[in-house]
């Protein structure tokens, strides 16, 4: 059995009280539950405070560019399907800069688990509106209030028939860990949108704000019922449902090779035959 200690202890660059600490704890708990040794796990991240997460866990890490955690994760999974591949980043990285990749990843349904730290603000660049900041909320760069409607990633993912869609809250580590485990076990693309406060730059969506609104879906919710899933996905206001919103049965991305590409050497006899056909 893999133990939590194998994932190491690191000093972080996060603000005291940041939801990222709880998410880190849940990730380690989930990886331990999944019995995944650190060298068989890859985390692909973008840029932002959330994207620093794998530096504080002992795992294979591809900390790439802003918005690009999913394309890198896709390449990694295609090149070596034996690795457990996670992508992790914030709401700005995932839904703003990386919006096109988010849509494409859902369509592709490749077996990746996507952890989005959704604090409804840009933290690292100090407090601008993100795609999930509510309309009208005032920020330093939107002093008249955010003019655009917020993006609802969960509703978009459900509508597009994503493999697995869950909403979680950083304040409930056990539930989050359980959802990560379920997402990782789902064969296909799994989105876990993790609500979390930004203690430094979001004075609206605080711990108290989320605690007042978040509730856990009970057994009466059927995540395979599209209509019910869409209704819960659209519920984001006075009440916010947590748990597995939707789980589909689309087959995962098809053309994945049997083993790692690194183990393949070119078949020169085949190439020679192919070239001869160009005579």
């Amino acid at each position: 059995m893999v133990t939590a200690e194998e994932y190491g202890e690191f000093e972080t660059a996060w603000c005291p009280g940041c939801g990222n600490f709880a998410i880190r704890k849940a990730v380690v708990k989930a990886l331990t539950t999944l019995d995944l040794p650190p060298d068989k796990v890859v985390f692909s991240t973008g840029i932002g405070q959330a994207a620093k997460a794998p530096h504080y866990i002992r795992v294979n890490t591809f900390n790439g560019l802003h918005g690009r955690s999913l394309p890198a994760a896709t390449g990694i999974k295609l090149a070596n399907p034996t690795l457990a591949v996670f992508a992790e980043s914030g709401d700005g990285c995932s839904y703003g800069e990386g919006g096109n990749h988010f849509l494409a990843a859902i369509r592709r349904n490749i077996d990746i688990t996507y952890l989005v730290h959704d604090n409804q603000i840009y933290g690292l660049t100090k407090g601008q509106a993100s795609p999930t900041t509510p309309k009208g909320q005032k920020t330093k760069t939107q002093p008249q209030g955010v003019p655009s409607n917020p993006f609802n990633p969960v509703a978009v993912a459900v509508t597009m028939g994503a493999g697995f869609v869950a909403r979680a809250f950083a304040g409930d580590t056990d539930q989050l860990a359980d959802l990560i485990v379920q997402g990782a076990r789902h064969a296909g693309f799994s989105l876990i949108d993790i609500l979390q406060p930004c203690v430094s730059f979001n004075k609206v969506n605080t711990y108290a704000w989320y605690k007042e609104r978040c509730y856990t879906l009970d057994a009466t919710h059927d995540p395979t019922d599209f209509g019910a899933a869409l209704a819960r996905a659209m519920e984001f206001g006075d009440k916010i449902p947590l748990g597995v919103i939707w789980q589909g049965d689309r087959p995962a991305f098809g053309s994945i090779p049997n083993g790692p590409l690194a183990a393949r050497e070119p078949d020169m006899a085949a190439l020679s035959e192919i070239l001869a056909s160009y005579a």
Partner: protein, 559 residues
């Protein structure tokens, strides 16, 4: 060369099948033992417009395209009007009797009489051309049987029938046209265009991953890889955009694939952040940029060599890279192979800079000797101390031992932030300097491994035509014609344009009577780069940027 070649121009609307005629004829000529050089000029549309498929054929090597037409095959009425000024002294026109010959010397082919359906007009055209060239009809009937075999014996018979009828009709016209000289070559050659050769070089080097967003003229590299992907164990994925394409390629490369992306200038503009990422995380990727005229969308289906500056400077920050610029399909194959090894060996982005002309230019190619290719660098397969493994260990060469995630007990950490040797992000400014020096020190290795330019002829007291990439053939033919006129000429061709090694070419420049840089762009980008790197100023500059490939006549008119 020169008089020894016949320049066949097949013109028509997009969708009329001129590429079918061109490809059948080219392949038949190559099989018969001739040398060919194809130039494809087409408009950015699916139907209509006016396109040409040009085959310059000869018994010996054909270097470059030429303007003068010997045989003009007009599939549409527009063809004659557009190309009649290029007709040579003994030229012949093959036109549809319905369109007429417009008083030009030639044959008006009764396509309606010869063909039961318009679908067969291509075969009638091939029959007429075959007869005029005195090409053994067996080469084309054999090809017809082969290409239509899947459609059944009736289709083969119908196409062969039309071909034979046109052959006999043409012979009966007793048109005066000089036959092709009998071929001198008997050994088998392949027919490949530049982009096919790049794909095969990449496959030979073990490329097994490509992610792409389609863009002319870069797509045919990917298409060729995909055509043989299943058999060669290659994974291809069409990405949502070029940014995703290159990042996916880097993710795959990190995980152990040998990755390639192929695009053109506009698509490459989107990939630029990925180039910088490759430099920072020291993860290999081969980037094929098939140039077309810009800026912006430019002329999507024409040729240019104006993206040297772009690939040279693409990516924020400073990091080493190599840029290859093949001049022939043979070089496309061998430099694609070398690019894969160079990327792996120096853990850096490596470019192949080609262009629409070379990408689409079919040539007769000597089969590659796959057994004599050197081994390709591969990652390390084990680590002595898995816990202490440092992906970016500082070494004298700057190249750190690279292992793959999942293959050893070590965890592999790469980071686009400045990082410590173990891959974790840092803002320690001393570490920053150490790591920047480590990365840049790989440039010394790239310089030591750089290909020197090739000298064709003797540069002493000569007019030295200096060129790079696809311009090689036009420069060689121009030098040959200068020699024939009694003016000593030579060619120095750069198949690698970065990094440059001054000692490899400055002494050659010094020997020459005059140095002329020949480039397919408007400012002389390689001339400027050489001046920046060495201070050397060329005596003259010949540039072309009208979307067409350079030719000997074009160069000679400007000397």
């Amino acid at each position: 060369m020169g008089e020894a070649t016949i320049n066949i121009v097949i013109g028509g609307e997009a969708g009329q099948g001129l590429v079918t005629v061109g490809e059948f004829l080219s392949r038949a000529l190559v099989r018969a033992g001739y040398a060919i050089l194809v130039t494809q000029d087409y408009m950015s549309r699916i139907r209509g417009g006016h396109n040409t498929f040009v085959i310059r054929v000869g018994s010996e090597q054909v270097f470059a395209p030429t303007e003068t037409i010997d045989l003009l095959v007009a599939l549409s009425a527009d063809t004659l009007a557009i190309h009649k000024k290029q007709l040579g002294a003994n030229a012949l026109v093959l036109a549809d009797v319905a369109h007429g010959l417009a008083d030009l010397p030639g044959l008006a082919i009764p396509y309606k009489e010869l063909c039961p359906k318009p679908l067969y007009e291509n075969m009638a055209a091939l029959g007429a051309i075959s007869s005029l060239l005195c090409l053994d009809p067996a080469w084309l009937t054999g090809l017809i049987a082969e290409k239509f075999a899947k459609k059944g014996v009736e289709v083969v018979a119908a196409n062969t029938g039309v071909f034979q009828a046109a052959l006999q009709w043409t012979a009966a016209q007793k048109a005066s046209f000089a036959c092709l000289a009998p071929p001198v070559r008997t050994e088998t050659r392949l027919m490949l265009h530049g982009n096919e050769a790049i794909a095969f070089g990449a496959l030979a080097a073990g490329v097994n991953f490509c992610s792409f967003y389609p863009m002319t003229p870069g797509t045919s590299v990917i298409q060729t890889l995909i055509d043989h992907g299943e058999r060669m164990g290659l994974v291809a994925e069409q990405a949502e955009d070029e940014i995703a394409a290159i990042i996916m390629a880097l993710g795959a490369s990190y995980a152990g694939a040998r990755s390639l992306v192929s695009t053109s200038g506009g698509g490459f503009a989107l990939m630029v952040e990925g180039v910088s990422l490759s430099g920072m995380i020291e993860t290999p990727v081969v980037i094929v940029v098939a140039q077309r005229p810009g800026p912006a969308t430019g002329l999507p289906t024409r040729t240019e060599q104006a993206d040297l500056d772009l690939v040279l400077y693409a990516g924020h920050g400073e990091f080493p890279r190599a840029i290859f610029a093949p001049g022939t399909p043979e070089q496309c194959f061998h430099l694609a192979y070398k690019a894969v090894d160079t990327a792996e060996r120096f853990q850096s982005p490596v470019f192949l800079l080609t262009d629409q002309f070379l990408a689409d230019s079919y040539r007769d190619v000597e089969p590659f000797d796959l057994d004599s290719l050197p081994p390709v660098t591969r990652p390390e397969t084990s680590v002595i101390d898995p816990v202490g493994y440092k992906r970016y260990a500082v070494t004298p060469s700057g190249v750190s031992p690279r292992v793959l995630p999942g293959f050893t007990p070590a965890t592999v950490i790469v980071d686009s932030d400045e990082h410590t040797p173990d891959g974790h992000l840092t803002e320690d400014l001393g570490v920053r300097v150490t790591m920047q020096d480590k990365r840049m020190s790989k440039l010394d290795g790239l310089v030591a491994a750089a290909l020197y330019p090739n000298l064709y002829g003797d540069a002493v007291d000569a007019t030295l035509l200096v060129c790079w990439g696809s311009t090689l053939g036009a420069a060689l033919e121009a030098a040959q014609r200068l020699d024939a006129q009694g003016e000593t000429a030579a060619v120095l061709h750069f198949s690698q344009v970065y990094p440059l090694v001054g000692e490899s070419f400055l002494p050659v420049f010094a020997e020459a009577k005059r140095t002329v840089m020949v480039e397919g762009n408007s400012v002389g980008q390689l001339a400027r780069l050489i001046r920046r790197e060495t201070g050397y100023v060329f005596d003259a500059l010949v540039t072309r940027y009208d979307g067409l490939p350079l030719t000997a006549a074009y160069i000679l008119e400007r000397l």
